[in-house]
């Protein structure tokens, strides 16, 4: 192909695609420090007004507390469920294994709005809706597949003979689990905790339906957006972005650094 010209055109094109994907994130960051009530260009002056406003809003603080409770509990439950399933899949072959795996892997393929309605109807039938832990129950179903995937990937790198060796050395199955499998999976378990927490922290559709009056951070955003143009959203958004990114990067660092170590 006509090398130079095509390469320049392609580079520009890839650049444009990235601009499209990242402009909402970048503009939200910029506008969170912008003094205008209706942000546009040319930019107004630099201002931390919106940050001061959300820091002084007790509703926002309550939402942050709720979000922390929900995402950390969700992460714990989803990771335990994911670990059990990943280990079962790794160690055993059994009848109905296909449906068994489908059971955990299916939820993310169903649109959230449908899960939201189904969860709301079911949980209120059981008298479990409108609570903070209603969100936790629902989110654990949605995030368990991610936990399972990460831990299964790690188990895939393990030599199955390692467990058998522990038994031969006189360890029981439980001891082998405690001293061989769990330590081997530790980095994946931490990554899974971070990633499931990040997913739960951002989810709003299901949370909004089942939470009743208990607002998490995304629900507060949703309610502000429904009202008017309010640059507070950008300030909250920046905070949410930093939280999620910290979790994701932490997960990556822990998982990848261990993978490199285990290969060398």
């Amino acid at each position: 192909m006509q090398g130079r010209g095509l390469n320049i055109a392609l580079t520009l094109y890839v650049g444009l695609v990235f601009v499209f994907i990242f402009s909402p994130i970048v503009f939200s960051l910029i506008f969170s420090f912008n003094s205008q009530r209706f942000p546009t260009i040319p930019l107004g002056g630099f201002s931390t007004e919106w940050y001061v406003k959300i820091l002084n809003d007790p509703d926002v603080w309550q939402a942050v507390r709720n979000s922390v409770i929900v995402s950390s509990s969700t992460a714990a439950i989803a990771t335990v469920l994911g670990f059990c399933t990943a280990y079962s899949d790794f160690r055993y072959n059994f009848r109905f294994k296909g449906p068994y795996l489908a059971l955990i892997l299916l939820p993310p393929t169903i649109p959230l709005i449908i899960m939201a309605l189904a969860m709301l109807a079911w949980l209120s039938r059981l008298g479990l809706s409108g609570q903070l832990w209603s969100i936790i129950l629902a989110h654990s179903v949605l995030t368990a597949p991610f936990a399972m995937a990460i831990i299964r990937l790690r188990l895939h790198q393990m030599d199955p003979d390692l467990e058998a060796a522990a038994w031969n050395l006189g360890g029981s199955e439980w001891q082998a689990m405690r001293h061989v499998i769990v330590p081997f999976c530790a980095p994946a378990i931490v990554s899974s905790l971070c990633l499931t927490a990040a997913v739960s922290f951002d989810e709003f559709a299901v949370a909004w339906f089942v939470s009743g009056l208990n607002k998490t951070v995304p629900i507060v955003i949703l309610e502000i957006v429904q009202g008017n143009i309010d640059p507070q959203v950008n300030a909250i958004g920046t905070f949410v972005f930093l939280t999620s990114m910290t979790l994701v990067i932490l997960a990556q660092l822990i998982f990848i650094s261990r993978q490199i170590k285990s290969h060398s």
Binding site: M1, L10, Y13, V14, V17, F18, F20, I21, F22, S23, P24, I25, F27, S28, F31, F38, P39, T40, I41, P42, L81, C84, T85, Y87, S88, R91, Y92, Y100, L103, I104, P107, T109, I110, P111, I113, I114, M115, L117, A118, M119, W122, L123, L137, S140, V141, D202, A205, F209, I221, L222, V225, V233, N234, I236, G237, V240, F241, S244, M245, V248
Partner: protein
């Protein structure tokens, strides 16, 4: 096999939790939603029943079908756009970029998935508004202002925010995994560049591409945020219909009808797509 098998408690400890949990909190809700679609609402109270009233009400109304076809249309359109826009970029990343650059690109493209979709939508709202960023920029070169919000354009931009990163990632990974020698062979045998894409690259990445397109469709089909905030919801999509019926009307059974229709549609589309993805091309043994 012996008739009396010892129960393996160790195995069950790991196998059972997810079965119990998903039966109660996943299969339960979905099945209950199906049952719900046959319940009755009398005096704002739901009563358990087995009547086809809700199905009849929804499926004989014009507004439901208008919404149904519109959702199907706009989700397919945005899926097609996402796949087409992503292709040149993914092709460049797969065949022209170094391994390091490609890995960085994919890592960067994962970031949006962990960024609040609501905040990004709000950001688009500000960018696309009548006196927003884009119109201000266009104003400098003497164009516009254009009306971009409350239109199909707004809805599609919102959907693309959700699906474009995924389309680029999946296409890039798919094409990067193609055996490069096959492409060289085609070139050596005199195949022109565009023909190489059409006759070698695309057939080899068919499965990956169909899966990518399917995901784009599913995401757009089930999203209520983009059509609501950027599209102005004058033409409500099915998710908006569910939202309105559930949140304002207490008409959960009717919302369940809409939700089940959506799931049936998704199943049909998914099965067709997967069948296509794994079908052997004609003439290949």
């Amino acid at each position: 096999m012996s008739a009396r098998r010892k129960i393996d408690f160790y195995a069950l400890t790991w196998r059972l939790p997810i079965i119990v949990w998903q039966l109660v909190f996943f299969v339960g809700p979905v099945l209950f939603m199906v049952a719900l679609s046959f319940f009755l609402v009398k005096n704002y109270r739901m009563t358990e029943a087995f009547e086809f009233v809700n199905w009849q009400r929804m499926l004989t109304r014009g507004f439901f079908w208008d919404s149904y076809w519109y959702t199907l249309f706009i989700a397919s359109l945005s899926g097609t756009i996402a796949m087409s826009v992503a292709f040149p970029a993914a092709w460049a990343l797969a065949f022209r970029a170094s391994d390091t650059l490609r890995r960085w690109a994919v890592f960067l493209l994962i970031i949006p998935f962990f960024t609040s979709y609501l905040v990004r939508t709000f950001s688009w709202y500000v960018i696309l508004a009548e006196s927003g960023v884009l119109n201000a920029m266009l104003g400098y070169i003497g164009l516009g202002p254009f009306r971009m919000l409350n239109s199909h354009f707004g809805t599609v931009v919102g959907y693309l925010t959700l699906t474009l990163p995924l389309a680029v990632i999946l296409q890039t990974v798919t094409m990067a995994n193609i055996d490069k020698t096959l492409i060289e062979a085609a070139r050596n045998l005199g195949c022109k560049p565009l023909a190489t894409i059409w006759r070698v690259v695309l057939p080899l990445s068919k499965t990956g591409f169909i899966v990518a397109a399917l995901f784009c469709f599913i995401l757009a089909f089930g999203d209520f945020v983009a059509p609501f905030y950027l599209g102005g919801s004058q033409e409500p999509t099915l998710p908006i219909l569910i939202l309105d019926t559930t949140k304002s009307g207490q008409q959960w059974p009717r919302a369940a009808v809409v939700a089940i229709m959506m799931m049936l549609t998704l199943f049909t589309v998914a099965f067709t797509a997967i069948a296509l993805a794994y079908r052997k091309p004609k003439g290949v043994r």
